[in-house]
Amino acid sequence: MKYLSTMVWLVIAAVLLEGLFAWLAIGEQEFLRPDTRMGTVHLRDKLVTWRLEGYSRDRLNKRGERDIEHAIDKSPETRRVILLGDSVCEALQVPMAATYARRLQGLLNDGSQKWETINLGCSGYSTGQELLALRDQGLQYKPDIVALLYSRGDSLENCVQPQTRATSEPRPYFYLGNDGSLQQDDSVLQANRRNLQSPAFLDYLRTNSHLYGVWSQVNFNLTLTDKIYNRLIKNYKQLIARFDQSQSMTQIAPAALQPQDNFAVTQKLISRFNEVCKQNNARFILMTFPDVSNLDPEFARQVPLLKQQAAAQGFEILDLSPAFRAQKHVSKMFLQVHFSEAGHAVVAQSLAEQIKKK
């Protein structure tokens, strides 16, 4: 009887909390779900209230894009721009209307042509995942222009090194084969296949439950900030893996497991981007994240190399650093690491000018 009473009170508490959190828009930061092909993808038709950095409260569209709804069919007079990138392009830190994707559409629609911009940015995506997103999602929109935002640290996510393979995030990785060709490595995805097959009820909770959202948020914060929690989770996963032989990485990993040059793989991915765009009659514009403080020497090394690559392979490159450095209050262009609304405005303006050049 005592247990039953406790259960009843717990259910009542859960219902009351669910109502309170819905009213206060708390626990609505959940926006990704596991995916066996991409590692993670956006939830569809999900209201997201973002408070981790900046603030926004918008709904992901029915295709799981951080954008307004778009029809697949394209009218003859419409020109489309597909925007790809990671969390910087996705821009949960600012309201949807303030993202460079939405602003760009306004800037391009000056009357002579009808422009439509489509934001396919997704948090944590590598250049390789962005390439897959273009193929799977982007090309069906028949884009005229594809604009990829390349950020600091992106190249580190494109390939997995042998020594970190066991602890790497599940996602498609890429490597250069012995003949220098670009190869996709899904071994980490396969090793985590069981975790990535999200049951329907979990997806329901992700989409609808504020309590689940709170738990997910706490888990995320603790993963970032608490070493003991991380250690416990790691030990728990290792324990589970010990009982689950199907997760053995070495059996699944491809033969080519030599240490990879991250940036060489990234350059190859960008070449592939360019090829895919050419095959589909789209302009390819590579934007590089504004490194206004020159804090990242590796990124500073990469940008000139990408410019050389653009010149050699005939795609456009837009270095955003000069436009940002020209602003009076550069620090106001950023929140913590992502763009503020003012920063998005600068990106939109720069990209619009680049597009109108031709």
Binding site: K2, S5, T6, M7, V8, W9, L10, I12, A13, L16, L17, L20, F21, L24, I26, G27, Q29, E30, F31, L32, R33, P34, G39, T40, R51, L52, E53, Y55, D86, S87, S123, G124, S151, R152, G153, L156, E157, E169, R171, R206, L211, V214, S216, Q217, V218, F220, N221, L222, L224, T225, D226, K227, I228, Y229, Q336, V337, H338
Partner: protein, 517 residues
């Protein structure tokens, strides 16, 4: 899942947490593991092992931060136990006094070395540089301030002074070791009195379910204050104080008010967690706060704010200096010294000293004002009636609160330049009116409106009102009977409050403000 992978957040995290061993701080996940384990073992083992177990647990708690500083606590505990013994057993008054002075010097030297070396060196070079007699860049020593040193040093001083004054010393070394290291009050007080603590260690209580009820209530209350209120207010204060040069007057007011409440919720939340943790182990540590922002004068404020420090300063500094026994001038001199040193105790920087001196000035003005009113009241009964009215009380509370807001501005500002700029901004009434009109476009005001504070602050206010309002006691009494009879309700309530604390927590773990002291 939220952001399964985003290296930019990872890099933020690394800068925040740094390297080294994980610390078991009150607002960490580690503490949520540590406390139940200590609680379970403590009540499970035979009573004779409990003190030694708590000493081990307390050292583990402290050394999880920097293991080497455990040696500091061991050394200070040993020498103060020795000083206490020598003072108590010495026959001659002069010998007692010699041991007392030696003990005071040892404790104060330790505090001075760790806390004030850089302050003194930098002040010295600043003066020499200003006078043009030296042309050196400022010297700085790499000294890490041990957590809680200001608190446990004051407890040691209280111990040896009280023994000198005739109190009985603690005879069992383990009891003294526990007094010195008791983890619920180790890092930021309350500053314990050893007589009370000794009675508790000598008569360890038996397990009682009331300890869990009351202790859990205090823990939840503390976590709610610290995480749901203090940390969220801290974000607003931090943003407001960082961008002070470009803030509108309304934003400056908001930032300063946010800090005023942040420091209260942060520190009283810490105290509640400490008191709740102690209560779960059957120990009582003193209360530190009594609704301080309802004080009717600066004197009343210090009777309600950080009470364990106020009474320590009264008993071991103000009264030994002569207190208020030798006329007005001496009393005020003693007040200035006491509050100036109180400011220095809070932080090794001149703006803390000025903060203390401003409080001294407020206390002196307040005393003069009260004396003047008393004199007028003796000849004018209307004034007496006015002073008893609720309007007078409300005005006194409001004026005291606004004065405290300004003193917290001094406390929080990085330097006097920032404090004076922000002060000037707060008095810019034209700008304030304009700022109110443009409130919807102010990032800082929007940040406040969008945060969970719009719910949690009124909810906490309602909780305090119900808890403290006389009219609600009858309802509370009826509810309490139902509450105590229903274990399921209590469990569900605790779970719900815990979830609310987690839900309202900002993304970043914020250390307690008073840890830096």
């Amino acid at each position: 899942m939220i952001l399964q992978k985003c290296p930019r957040y990872d890099s933020l995290d690394r800068s925040r947490t740094g390297k080294g061993a994980p610390s078991v701080l009150f607002n960490s996940f580690s503490y949520l593991l540590f406390l139940p384990i200590v609680f379970g073992i403590y009540w499970a083992i035979p009573r004779r092992f409990r003190v030694v177990f708590l000493v081990i647990a307390s050292y583990f708690f402290y050394m999880s931060w920097r293991p080497i500083y455990g040696l500091l606590i061991v050394a200070l505990t040993a020498i103060n136990f020795g000083f206490g013994h020598m003072i108590a057993t010495a026959n001659a008054r002069t010998t007692k006094k010699t041991w007392l002075i030696t003990g005071l010097i040892a404790n104060l030297a330790c505090l001075a070395y760790f806390k004030y070396t850089n302050f003194m060196v930098e002040s010295y070079y600043s003066v020499r540089t200003a006078l043009g007699t030296i042309d050196l860049t400022k010297q700085h020593f790499d000294i890490l301030l041990p957590l809680g040193i200001s608190f446990f040093t004051f407890e040691f001083i209280h111990y040896i002074v009280d023994i000198y004054r005739g109190q009985k010393p603690i005879t069992r070394p383990l009891d003294f070791a526990l007094f010195a290291s008791f983890f619920p009050s180790q890092i930021a007080g309350p500053i314990k009195r050893y007589e009370d603590f000794r009675l508790q260690t000598e008569n360890l209580p038996s397990y009682n379910a009331d300890y869990i009820n009351a202790g859990t209530q205090l823990l939840l209350q503390g976590f709610f204050k610290k995480v749901a209120l203090g940390d969220n207010l801290g974000l607003i204060a931090s943003h407001g104080f960082t961008a002070y040069a470009t803030n509108t007057p309304a934003e400056t007011w908001l930032a300063t008010l946010a800090f005023t409440f942040q420091i209260f919720f942060d520190f009283s939340g810490y105290t509640d967690i400490g008191r709740g943790s102690a209560l779960l182990l059957g120990f009582k540590v003193p209360e530190n706060f009594d609704i301080p922002y309802l004080a009717t004068s600066p004197t009343d404020f210090w009777n309600r704010w950080h009470k364990s420090l106020s009474t320590w300063l009264r008993d071991y500094l103000f009264i030994p200096l002569g207190g208020s026994r030798h006329g007005k001038a001496t009393t005020y001199r003693n007040l200035i010294i006491t509050m100036g040193l109180s400011g220095l105790w809070h932080g090794a920087a001149w703006h803390f000293v000025i903060w203390g001196l401003v409080h001294a000035a407020l206390l002196i003005i307040s005393k003069e004002w009260q004396s003047a009113l008393d004199r007028m009241q003796s000849t004018n009964h209307a004034i007496a009636a006015l002073r008893r009215s609720s309007a007078w009380n409300a005005a006194a509370i409001s004026i005291t609160f606004v004065l405290m807001v300004f003193t917290w501005l001094l406390f929080r500002a990085d330097d006097m330049h920032q404090a004076s700029r922000m002060c000037a901004s707060m008095f810019d009434l034209a700008g304030l009116a304009q700022g109110m009109q443009r409130a919807s476009s102010s990032e800082l005001i929007l940040e406040f409106v969008r945060s969970s504070l719009v719910f949690s602050l009124p909810a906490y206010g309602a909780y305090c009102w119900v808890k403290n309002h006389a009219d609600t006691q009858a309802i509370l009494g009826a509810f309490k009977r139902f509450w105590l009879a229903n274990l399921g309700l209590r469990i569900a309530f605790c779970v719900a409050i815990s979830i609310m604390v987690l839900a309202f927590a900002p993304g970043q773990l914020t250390p307690f403000i008073y840890f830096q002291f």
